[in-house]
């Protein structure tokens, strides 16, 4: 199905209704569904929640938009519920964490290759290899705490190995900032930044919610550590977005980002039942797009084409293993660091960041403690024949 933001009318907003049974459907299968079905569910929950977040802020600041924003926000809340409830209850919170990090690695890798702005592409690659390292640290925790192999979740699509160490990812706040794209940036640039911002918010909020649910003290520490870095990514990605965009422009771009992402999900979904959900929600998003296009014309007195061009969607995120690209990035760029908004060599890193993390790590590093001596082995490290007998010494 070919979608144009101006031509496709979608389901009218006043006909967008769900029952509780529709919102809480049969979940995906942890064992049998493709890992990328779960990746899409996690990504779209993040995108929906960010759309809600944007509108929550707009509601506080825009008198004339109160009614349509409230109406749109309600449907988006329900869409987020439908999508998020696709995750099945046999995922432990730590297994869902592995899925979040796989989503971050594979989606960011795809976006990094789609991004036309070389500086922003660098920013995606920078965060990508940090997520890759989180996947490794959480995989060690999954093995050593629950006795499970993270590859049961990642299904062979994503490598499990260290990159830029998590312990070195802590930066002083001003060094998390990225130079924003300008108003004349490509539409794809804007949609990429919005999508990744939503994803990072979601993962941050998820870790902040489940971290205290763990009994194991090292797990509690590791979630606190990675949640802190997730908050850095919120700064990293949010600061990419043009701060001079006005609220109507932001709402228009948020709707375009939702359409663009649902279209990617519908095009690539392997489970027919889940594909039908993506198609329904794409249709709903097209309905939202029409509402916002009208608002934009009525209130802004501008042509939405100034932001959306001819309405055609940019190339979509590819939901597929980006292994070769990721390996190249890790080999070439793990040693990069930040100084303000610039990417610099390890030696040129801002001293403030070094001081910041020296203090944080002064009583030990959770991500180092959890993974000491650990490398991924199919079937967990207990299955590593090269590692000898691990019996407890008498």
């Amino acid at each position: 199905m070919s979608v144009n933001l101006f031509d496709s009318s979608g389901c009218p907003l006043d006909r967008q209704r769900f029952t509780w049974k529709e919102l809480v459907q049969n979940p995906l299968s942890k064992l049998d569904d493709d890992a990328f079905t779960r990746v899409r569910a996690i990504l779209m929950n993040g995108v929906e929640l960010d759309a809600v977040r944007t509108k929550q802020a707009m509601l506080r600041m825009n008198g004339e938009l109160r009614v349509p924003v409230a109406q749109l926000m309600r449907v988006e809340q329900e869409q987020a519920s439908l999508v998020n409830w696709l995750l099945s209850a046999d995922h432990s919170p730590l297994e869902t964490t592995i899925a979040h990090e796989q989503t971050a690695v594979e989606v960011t890798a795809s976006v990094a290759q789609l991004e036309p702005d070389p500086y922003l592409a660098q920013a995606y690659r920078y965060a990508l290899l940090e997520h890759f390292d989180h996947l490794y640290r959480f995989s060690a925790l999954l093995d050593r705490l629950e006795g499970k192999d993270a590859n049961n979740i990642t299904q062979g699509y994503t490598d499990i190995a260290p990159a830029r160490p998590t312990t070195e990812q802590h930066r002083s706040p001003e060094n998390d900032l990225i130079e924003p794209y300008g108003m004349d940036a490509a539409l794809s640039t804007k949609l990429h930044a919005l999508t990744l911002t939503g994803g990072e918010y979601q993962t941050h909020d998820y870790y902040m919610t489940i971290g205290p649910m763990f009994a194991d003290p090292l797990a509690r520490q590791l979630y606190a550590e990675v949640a802190s870095i997730q908050s850095q990514y919120i700064t990293h990605y949010s600061s990419m977005i043009d701060p001079h965009e006005n609220p109507m422009e932001k709402m228009l771009l948020a709707e375009a980002a939702e359409v663009w992402n649902y279209q990617a999900c519908a095009e690539q979904e392997s489970n027919p039942r889940i594909r039908a959900i993506w198609e329904r929600l794409l249709d709903y998003e097209m309905g939202h797009m029409q509402v916002v296009l009208h608002l934009f014309k009525d209130l802004e007195r501008r042509d939405p084409a100034q932001l959306l061009g001819d309405g055609s969607l940019p190339p979509r995120i590819r939901f597929a293993s980006q292994r070769d690209f990721v390996r190249r990035v890790i080999a070439a760029e793990s040693s990069l660091r930040k100084d303000g908004t610039e990417f610099v060599s390890e030696e040129a890193e801002a001293p403030a960041s070094i001081g910041w993390r020296e203090h944080l790590n002064a009583e030990g590093s959770p991500s180092m403690a959890v993974s000491g001596g650990w490398h991924w082995t199919p079937g967990t490290e207990l299955n590593d024949a090269s590692d000898g007998d691990r019996s407890t010494p008498a």
């Binding site: 493709d34 890992a35 062979g156 190995a161």
Partner: protein
């Protein structure tokens, strides 16, 4: 159970990615992974050293019970804690069997070996045992509505059992496996409670608890047999 599209194992990954993943993971870890320096153990030890307990046994609400508790001290606290644990387990157990009855009553689950009337009887026993423990705690001047530390911990322990039984996707056999875990633990719990009641001079309670244990042993036998039949039936 059927053979299908399970994708979790490495064998379902493409052959090239399988060997490549292992080699890459090993090479990267050799170059970048931290050494095992004992910090994993050290973090745990430090927290265990500094930990406070999950909570306390509540102070009795009546003057008479406070006086009695001063006389019996720690022995009473342990008994109250373990009575609270068993009470919580029986109360949760009632809900486990109610969830199991729902699963067995579904039209899709007609072909199971469970005697549903017997299953309902076990559910009623669980509730009866909950009430027995409630009375015992009241008799000791303890508050049966409070959550004692062992009651709290046994609640954490049982979370997975309800997750298994209440999931619409699990089979009767899978749910029976969870019930078997509950019954094995419950049997051991009652045996210990009998010993504790005798040890603390509550022979009357021990007599009642013995009757409960006998019922528990029957539950264990029935659940174990239903599970055996369910699995063998599936394998036929």
């Amino acid at each position: 159970m059927v053979t299908g599209m399970n994708r979790t194992g490495l064998d379902t990954a493409t052959a090239s990615s399988k060997a490549s993943m292992i080699a890459y993971a090993q090479a990267q870890a050799a170059a970048r992974a931290p050494e095992s320096d004992g910090s994993f153990e050290a973090v745990h030890m430090a927290y265990i050293e500094e930990a406070e307990c999950v909570g306390t046994v509540p102070v009795p609400a009546t003057v008479k019970a406070i006086v009695a508790s001063r006389r019996t001290g720690r022995r009473r606290d342990v008994l109250i804690d373990k009575l609270g644990e068993r009470l919580a387990f029986e109360r949760a157990g009632t809900r486990l069997y109610e969830a199991m009855l729902l699963k067995c009553g579904a039209p899709a689950e007609v072909n199971h070996p469970i005697d549903v009337a017997a299953l309902a009887h076990i559910r009623d026993d669980e509730e009866m045992h909950f009430r027995l423990l409630h009375r015992c705690m009241e008799k000791l001047g303890a508050d049966p509505t409070a959550m004692t530390p062992c009651a709290d911990v046994v609640g954490v322990q049982g979370l997975g059992l309800m997750q298994v039984i209440s999931d619409p996707r699990t089979t009767v056999g899978q749910a029976l496996n969870a019930l078997l875990s509950a019954e094995l633990s419950d049997n051991a719990g009652w045996a210990l409670l009998i010993e504790l009641a005798e040890h603390t001079g509550h022979e009357d309670m021990a007599t009642d608890f013995n009757a409960a244990l006998q019922a528990k042993q029957q539950h264990l036998g029935m659940v174990g047999e239903w599970l055996r039949q369910a699995v063998l039936q599936e394998a036929t």
